[in-house]
Structures are given as C-alpha cells and as structure tokens.
C-alpha cells in the first residue's frame, strides 16, 4: 500500500479567454498533409498552458461553418508567437493552411485545461504522440525541460515523412520514433517500441488517434503508471456551452472542451 495517496484529479483553474486577430508571421508547409502556422499579435499574447487549445475562425470556405479547434503547438515568448500545427483534413483546415504571411485569423484562446506538471523532480516522464497528436507534446516537453526534467518523446507516424518537428523535439529531450513502414525508428506502433519494455516511467502523457491513446492507456494501467490523455471529441463552441463534445466519465457526461481536453485515465470509462 502506498503511504501517501497521489492527487489524480486535474486542477481546474479559470484563465481569462481572449478573442484575438492573430497575424500570420510564418506559414511553413511541413509535408503534403501538415502546415505549421506561426502567429503573432500586436500586443503580448496571454499566458497559455501545454494541453490547451484555440478555436480558429475559418474564412472563405463555404463548407465550413464552425471554428476549428487546434491545440497549442508551441509558445515562442521571444517572438511573441503561438504555433499551430494544422493537419489538412477537410475544407476548413485546407483554408486555414492557405493563409499567407501578414493575413489574420480570428482566434479564441486559451481554451480547456492543461497537462499537470509532475510533482517530483526525479520522475521519469514519457510523452507519446501520434500524427497531429504530437502537436501539444512539443509545448509540454519544452515546459518540462524548463523545469529541469528530461522528457522522453515517443513519436509515431505512418512513415518518416510524417514525423514532424524532430529538430525541435530533440532540443528538449530524448526522441524515440516508430513508423508503420519502418522508414525511420522502430517498425510498428508506438506501443510496440522497445523503450516500453526496457525502461520504466512514473508518468505518461499522450495525444493522438484514439486507438493509439487507448493502447498507451492500457500499457499505463497494466504497469500502474500515472497517465494523462488529451481527447479531441467533435465540438461546436470550445468553451463549454453547446455540450456537444461530452466524454462519459466517472462523473457522467462532461465537456472535453472545458473540463478537458486532458483527462487522467482513471476518470475515463474506457474498456482497457
């Protein structure tokens, strides 16, 4: 039995939300499916936490009615920039990705809760990202590194071409990769990586496709490791009023946009 029980609940701190016209300072095409938007503002950007997201307005797309929720990829304080990693999924994200330097996007931020920082400086941390789910892991990794941790990033993709921002990740911790076609790192899924059988961790953070997160959560649960997942349920508003993005939890239906997107797996009702 553990002498001291750990706090598993994520703290809910109200952070003032802003509606801002952000200016595109850089639009970098990373590959055929991903664009990195670096956005700035005339005034100092509000504080944001790793795991939080923004709602980006889409202009000029007749097929797109709602804003698009996009996670905070990185905050570059020196340049007053917030970065968004955009996966080209449909018409809305394609329009977002087509913005040019100097153009503005109307953004609501910061939204949602955040990943919790580890309590103990000796904790060994694993950050698992898949696909566009690697986006919040960069910001989280940088913040952890700033606090003296050495995060271990485990990043998975279909092939080498889809592994994004590896130079950035390398600056903040150890990087391990898997690809489904074996073109880089170990072949297979993140949960098959040898790291998981050769090293032990105290806490896992994950974001990516749901089957991947469920596999990671199962590994964490089996090995009795604290685990936080970031969900991306379909939402309309992003700030807790439409009640569309609910996840069924130990507390009933709660909004992913407001009480999430980050959940401790103990709160979820996943069959793992």
């Amino acid at each position: 039995m553990q002498g001291k029980s750990r706090i598993n609940t994520l703290l809910f701190i109200h952070m003032k939300k802003y509606i801002l016209d952000l200016v595109v300072s850089e639009n970098i095409q990373l590959n055929d499916n991903y664009v990195l938007l670096k956005m700035t503002a005339p005034t100092e950007l509000p504080d944001m936490l790793p795991g939080q997201f923004a709602e980006l307005e889409v202009e000029g797309s007749s097929k797109t009615f709602l804003r698009r929720p996009i996670s905070i990829n990185f905050i570059d304080k020196d340049n007053n920039e917030v970065w968004f990693l955009i996966q080209l999924v449909g018409d809305g994200t394609r329009h977002l990705a087509a913005v040019k330097r100097g153009q503005t996007i109307n953004v609501i931020l910061p939204l949602g809760n955040s990943f919790t920082m580890p309590e103990n400086a000796s904790e060994r941390l694993l950050l698992v990202g898949g696909g566009v789910g690697t986006a919040p892991m960069l910001f989280l990794g940088e913040q952890l590194s700033k606090k003296g941790f050495t995060p271990n990033f485990l990043l998975g993709a279909r092939s080498q071409n889809d592994l994004l921002q590896l130079n950035e990740f390398t600056q903040y911790g150890n990087v391990f990769t898997t690809t489904e076609d074996g073109s880089m790192g170990e072949k297979g899924y993140v949960t098959q990586h040898s790291l998981l059988s050769t090293q032990t961790f105290n806490k896992i953070y994950t974001c990516g496709p749901k089957p991947m997160m469920m596999a990671v959560a199962k590994y964490a649960k089996t090995n009795n490791i604290e685990c936080e997942v970031s969900l991306e349920n379909t939402m309309a508003c992003g700030f807790g009023v439409c009640l569309c993005c609910v996840e069924n939890t130990t507390e009933g239906h709660i909004c992913v946009c407001k009480e999430g997107p980050v959940f401790n797996i103990k709160k979820l009702l996943w069959q793992i």
Partner: protein, 303 residues
C-alpha cells in the same frame, strides 16, 4: 440613440436581443468576452425536473451553413439550478429566463413552480419542441391538443411571463401558436431546431448517436422567417423570432416579419460577442432610417 425597449407580456426587455437556450450556458461562460448585462434577455440551458445525462456522444455534426445537434437536454435538474446556479447568476443585471422542459405534464408543472419561487427569474420559456428526447419534448409541441394541455397546466402553476417555444416540425405552426395563445401563453418563441440527419458514407453510419438531430444555423433562416411571419399574423401575443440569426440584418428581417424580439443561438458558438454586435447594429439601423423606437418596425414589412 433609438428606444430599444420592447415588452413581452409583462416582461420589459432593454433591447430585443435574447440568447437562445442551450447556446449561452448560464451567461457566465461569456463574461470574458462581453458585458452580458447588455443583452435584453438571457435564456439559460433547458432545465428539467430531474438531472439528465443527455444523449451519448457523438452529438454534433457540421452541415452546410449550419449544424445538427443531439444533446438531449443534458442538465443537472431544477433543484441543482435553484440551489447552485441561480445564486451565481441572479446578480446579472438583465432578464434571466429559464427554459423548462419535461417528459410529462406533471414534471413541467413542478419545474415551473420551483422556478416561480426564484425572484430574479423573470420568465420561463416552455420547451415543447426539443427534437432530441424520446418522451415529451417535441411530442407535446406537434399537436394542438398536446400543446394546449401542457401550456394550460403550467399557466395555472406559474405567475410570471410564460413564453412557449414552438417546434417547426409541424404541418401548420400557426395552428399550434393559436392553441398556445388560447391557453394562456404570454408569448411564443420560434423556431426550435428542424429535425435532420447526416451520414458518414465511408462507415455507412449516422454521424449522430441518435441518428436524427436538430438543425440550426443560417441554413434554417428562410424557414424560420416564414414561420415567424405566419405566426405573427395568426396571434395577438408577442412573437420572439429565431433561427439562423448571424448579424443585425438577419435580426431586422425577423422584426420586420413580426417578431417583437429575437434570439441568437448557434452564432454564439462562432462569435461569442455576436449578441452585442447585433444590438449595436439594430440601433444603427433605426438611427439611419430615423425611427424613434424599435416598436416602429415590428411587423412593418410592406407587401
């Protein structure tokens, strides 16, 4: 500055802009963005006698110029509202109106009685038109006898302004409006969402857990406007118009068609400041056309 005051029965609104239930939370969620006391009336989330978990996820599908929802009246019940939410919001300096729903007439009545005892709730909007619950909800709103019976019962139990929210999923909405008026409603609001559906062709599955859901947004505006126009001609009580209003121009269309006030719904999701922008736009319109009062243009459509 033109006079923006309008009356809905005994209820006086400082301006005709209201928020549609289920799109504005309890008002507090918008305090970071706007001064919510500027809104003429805040209609809070649909409230039932007992707590409801609502429908399973997924509950939302984006559609051309709109969205489908199948939330299913998720709320913590009227007792929780009265004990925990009401004390937090009662200070807001505008009309706070509770949208009341139920699955049986007795539930509507009991919920209305509890709301009746809350001093700073100035009206209820009776929801007889929610398309996303199995029993009750829309079932009452699609027949004249159903609508009449629930309004009649609630009228006896509730002293303050009684607004009844109508369903567009009927053959003749004017007939329902007349039945509601005859049974003591002070006002009708319309339209609730239109029943619709969407399909994921790759998975051959519906996009909503409930298969069907309620359509809202600009896609429904022409239908809503037509129904407001029909109902405004059919009843003497004030009509509150809604359905796809995105800006002041849409709002003026509804007012010209006969609405004394309007509600903004889905637009709040995209622009949380839209309500105050619409209020400013209405004021500018009245000044530009040299009207002294908003009441000068209610039903002023020239045919």
């Amino acid at each position: 500055m033109a006079d923006l005051n309008v009356n809905i029965g005994d209820l006086r609104l400082k301006n005709p802009v209201m928020t549609a239930s289920g799109t504005f939370g309890y008002g507090e969620e918008f305090e970071d963005f706007i001064d919510v006391s500027r809104i003429g009336g805040i209609i809070v989330k649909g409230t039932t006698l007992h707590k409801r978990e609502g429908n399973p996820y997924p509950r939302m599908a984006e559609t051309p110029a709109g969205m489908l929802n199948a939330v299913g009246l998720q709320n913590k019940g009227v007792h929780y509202f009265a004990d925990h939410i009401y004390p937090r919001i009662k200070h807001i300096d505008t009309n706070i109106i509770v949208n009341v729903s139920g699955s049986a007439i007795e539930d509507y009545v009991e919920t209305a009685q509890i709301i009746n005892s809350l001093d700073n709730i100035s009206a209820i909007e009776l929801n007889i038109s929610c398309p996303n619950v199995k029993e009750g909800g829309m079932a009452f709103g699609v027949t004249t006898t159903g609508a009449a019976s629930v309004v009649n019962a609630v009228r006896k139990a509730y002293d303050k302004t009684l607004i009844v929210k109508l369903s567009p999923n009927v053959t003749d909405i004017a007939e329902i409006a007349r039945a509601v008026e005859a049974n003591g409603a002070d006002s009708v609001s319309l339209i609730n969402t239109l029943l619709g559906m969407a399909i994921d062709v790759e998975r051959r599955k519906p996009l909503l857990s409930t298969v069907t859901g309620g359509l809202s947004g600009p896609a429904v505006k022409p239908v809503a406007l037509r129904m407001v126009w029909q109902v405004a001609k059919a009843v003497k009580i004030p009509v509150i118009g809604m359905g796809g209003i995105m800006d002041w121009k849409d709002a003026i269309e509804f007012i010209l068609a006969g609405a004394s006030a309007i509600q903004i719904g889905t637009a709040n999701f995209i622009d949380p400041t839209v309500c105050v922008k619409v209020e400013d736009g209405i004021n500018n319109y009245l000044n530009k056309h040299k009207y002294q009062s908003i009441t000068d243009i209610i039903g002023a459509l020239e045919i």
